[in-house]
Symmetry: C2
Subunit: 130 residues, 2 copies
Amino acid sequence: MRIGDAAAAAGTTPRALRFYEQRGLLHPPARTASGQREYGPAEVARVRVIRRLLALGLTVDDLASRAHRLDLLAEDRPWRCSATPGLDTFAPVVSARLATLDAEIARLTELRGRLAHHVATGGADLPADT
Amino acid sequence: MRIGDAAAAAGTTPRALRFYEQRGLLHPPARTASGQREYGPAEVARVRVIRRLLALGLTVDDLASRAHRLDLLAEDRPWRCSATPGLDTFAPVVSARLATLDAEIARLTELRGRLAHHVATGGADLPADT
DNA sequence: CTAACCCCTGACCCTTGCGTCAGGGGCAAG
DNA sequence: CTTGCCCCTGACGCAAGGGTCAGGGGTTAG
C-alpha cells in the first residue's frame, strides 16, 4: 500500500502521514526499491488512533512523547485502562487537557457574558484590562 | 509623551502601539524634529479602548475596518448605543463574535464530555472522525 | 563628554497541524 | 514511447498579535 492509499484508508492525506512520521508519531515505514513508502494495515490502524487522539485535542507533541504506547490503543483490541498495562501513561496528558478545556470553557463563557452584557446595556461599563 | 510612556499609560508596549498604527487602528501621531512619535492623552485613551475591544475577542481587522468610529468609545464619554450615533456599526461584528463564541463553547463542551467519558469508561468507545 | 536609556525601521520568531508549491523521478496503461 | 497519475524532498504559507533582535541615532543627567 503506498502513501496515498494508506492516507485515504486512514481518512487523511499523504502530507499528514509524512508529517506524523517526521514528528515521531509513526515509525519510518518500509520503502520500495525506488524509495516509495510502503504501509500495511497496522500502520493505517495506528494513524487512525492518532487522528482520534488529535481530534480529542491532544497535541502532536503529547503523542510523540508517548509514541511507544500508541499501538496499545489500536481499535481492534479491548482498550481499557485497567486491562491494558501502560495505557495509563496517557492519563496525565488527558487530565491536563481536561483542565485546559475547563479553563478555556470558563474563559469563553465569562467573555460571552461580558460581551452580551455590553450589547444589552449599550456597553456603558467596559471592563478593566484583564 | 513619547511612545514608551504612552504605552505604559495604556497598559501595553511600544511595539503594540507601532503595530496598531501600522494596521490602521491609530492615526500616525505627531513626530518630534528627530522623528520620535509624540502622543497625547487622547491617543492613550484610544489605545485603551482598542485594548478592551481586543480583550473582548474582536480582531485587529474588525477594529481597523471601523477605525473611524473608535473614538466614539472613549471611556470618559457616555457610551450608549442609543445615545451615540454611529456606535451601532460595531453591532454586526459583536454579534458575529457572540455567535462564534457560542459555537466554540459548544464545541469545547462537547469535546470535554467525550474526553471525560473516555477517562470514565477506559476509552473503550473511541468516536469516529469528526 | 559620556554613560545610560530611549527611540527609529526592518525583519525574523512564535504557536499548531498541516496545505501548497517547486523541481525531479517512478509506474502502469494505451 | 508517451501520457497521466503518483511519489520523493525541501521549503514556504497560514492565522493573530505582537516579541525580539540588529543596527543606528536621540536625549538627558552627571
